[in-house]
């Protein structure tokens, strides 16, 4: 049940069943590190899909947040670059060390062998899960729940507290929402009733008088008008936020000079004092909205793509230095090896009239693959 298909662009094949053949750790590690290495390197890794051989998981969002904070605190581009490259280099050293260990027949970390970790302080602060250097020290978890935090995951005991019902597991009647895959009917008594506390404590009561955190959840508003009316007369608000009905496309979003009034308002400094009670919606821009709306694709009109990307800026090779707006500086480093340019997915489209109710004449051309 294994079909290789990874060679194709955007390879979508290669389904692997859960019962893979037994793995040879050395082969697996070497193959993974050579041929199956992801673009994102700051990751844990397990050759056997069980315990990790490499730890130190860091996600792109954590790196981004760290670097945003550092940049705001004045760290220079070169330092930010060095952090990033150093972290990647450290991970690559870990990969090589793991390959050596596997080749040498040593016990891998996932098999109880010695951990493999290349020390990189900037990376370690992120992977350790502690607060970034520019933030506050990590506080103790509040509201510590029942029992201690789970260390290593314990295997689920068969027929544990959520054992299967006599009637068999859910899965045969996908259209029956009342059944639960966990063996008990969903929607049991009490859910939906606001006073019931599923965690077994006292029933949740709304606080008397004013709540600490402001108003309780708003009563449901009519779905047709979720945005209501602005409280302050003349405020930007909803209903007529931008001063004029939406216009047909008037011009490019991109290519507009900076500083053009925006329907979302200019960036504002944080409001002094409490934000409660101060509408944050910006004042409407005077005149017609400068941003064109999309073409009428849904109504069957031709999809005229907005001109503009590149219209206002000179064509530049990727990574050419450019004047930086406030914030991050454009870096001269060109991209490393990446995909060859050009679109051309392997998938075909349906160029006969679809039976879909909203079906409009497809306006996009066939993919290149169909044009030979």
């Amino acid at each position: 049940n294994y079909q290789g298909g990874g060679g194709r662009q955007q390879g979508g094949g290669g389904a692997q069943g859960s019962r893979d053949r037994p793995v040879n750790p050395a082969e697996e590690v070497q193959n993974d590190m050579r041929a199956e290495r992801p673009t994102w390197l700051l990751s844990c890794y397990s050759h056997c899909k069980g315990a990790n051989d490499l730890k130190g998981d860091v996600s792109p969002e954590e790196v981004r947040w760290q670097q945003y904070q550092e940049r705001m605190a004045g760290k220079h581009d070169m330092a930010l670059q060095n952090d990033w490259r150093g972290a990647c280099a450290a991970k690559e050293k870990e990969f090589e060390a793991l390959v050596r260990a596997a080749r040498g027949g040593q016990r891998l970390p996932s098999q109880g062998g010695a951990p493999i970790r290349e020390n990189h302080p900037w990376l370690a602060q992120l992977a350790g899960g502690s607060a970034p250097a520019f933030g506050q020290p990590a506080a103790a978890n509040t509201g510590f729940g029942l029992g201690a935090g789970a260390p290593a995951p314990a295997p689920a005991a068969p027929g544990g507290p959520f054992g299967q019902p006599a009637g068999g597991p859910f899965g045969h009647a996908p259209a029956a929402p009342a059944q639960s895959p966990f063996g008990a009917p969903a929607g049991g008594a009490g859910f939906g009733a606001p006073a019931h506390n599923p965690f077994g404590g006292a029933p949740v009561q709304p606080p008397p008088g004013g709540a600490l955190f402001g108003k309780p959840l708003q009563p449901p508003a009519p779905a047709a008008a979720p945005f209501g009316q602005p409280a302050a007369p003349g405020g930007g608000g909803f209903g007529a936020p931008f001063g004029a009905p939406a216009q047909p496309p008037q011009g490019a979003l991109f290519g507009q000079p900076l500083g053009q009034p925006s329907p979302f308002g200019a960036p504002q400094p944080p409001a002094a004092g409490s934000i409660f009670g101060q509408p944050t919606n910006p004042q409407p821009a005077g005149g017609a909205p400068p941003f064109g709306a999309g073409a009428g694709v849904f109504g069957g009109g031709a999809a005229a793509p907005q001109a503009g990307f590149g219209a206002g800026s000179p064509a530049q090779p990727f990574g050419a230095p450019a004047a930086a707006p406030a914030g991050f500086q454009a870096l001269p480093a060109p991209g490393s090896s990446g995909a060859a340019g050009g679109a051309g997915a392997g998938g075909g489209g349906d160029y006969t009239a679809p039976s879909f109710v909203r079906g409009q004449i497809p306006d996009d051309p066939p993919p290149l693959a169909l044009c030979v």
Partner: protein, 354 residues
Amino acid sequence: MFGAAAQKPSYNPNGDVEVSVPQDLDGVSSLGFSPTANFLCASSWNNSVYVWDIQQTGQTVPKAQNKDHQQPVLCTAWKQDGSAIFTGGCDKTVRMWNLGSNQSQQVAAHDAPVRHCFYVPTMNMLITGSWDKTIRFWDCRQPSPVHTQTMSERIYAMDVNYPLAVVGTADRNLTVYDLTKPQAPFKTIQSQLKWQTRCVSCFPDKTGYLVGSIEGRVAVQHVDDAVANTKNFTFKCHRDGNDIYAVNSICFHPGFGTFATAGSDGTYNFWDKDSKQRLKAQNKCQYGQQPAPIPCAAFNRDGSLYAYAVSYDWSRGYSEYNPQVMKNTILIHAVKEDEVKAKPKAATGVGGRK
């Protein structure tokens, strides 16, 4: 038809509708449609959350903006009646933004950035997941969580389809919750993928979930162990030659039980896990010659629209960040039936080929 193609910008090679976004938009971290209307919300690394009205004509009308978070916003969740949006992010809080009054208030807090938040109408609760390694349950009327569950590691991925909830943490742990018994996890297992967990998505029928990782692969997992042993599998995706990209988003179509993936390679694809086929591959979004990543995506409530962001997702770190070239945009694809309708098994039995 072909003449029009020549004008398609490289970041929108599929000719999808472009949302009119503000000039100061930074990377888009989450997208979500209202459960009751075609209002689309987006959160951004510029600290703002936005709402547009996506009209039938294809016009995208800006409706609202909230800047009460003073730091990047990472996640959003609509309240079931469409009246409010929960927003969470790097300021370690979650706020509830009431669209009628256009005011927001803090309803939850963690000790580190909040990565995911979900509103669960059956429980009338907010569930939040954070890099502080906890998930917390809130009834939003009290400043303290009703329950806090400490996980083994930072929360990276999460999805809820009551009563199923799945949490993916750093170091490849996956925790499954039965929300009818939320005091403790149902089970915790290791991911069937070898590298960092990136996203999870619960099946519409709640019998299992999909896991996406950084290694251009998706795992199909079933909750019931007996079913899992025979029906779990993984498949490769979001690869281009030797380059292997992260799967950033997996969304099930609300009607057909098929799903869409989107990745750092700048593509989005439609799949059918039951026949193990790819239904449609879309053209690759690019910034010049480089892939333009898709960090997040969402179907609307009836599955007629698929919104996706095209913006740098930091998948190549700081070195590759070039804001002059990497414009941030949100595109909306008018879904075609043949892209999302389940198909009978192909003759080969395993798909990916068109």
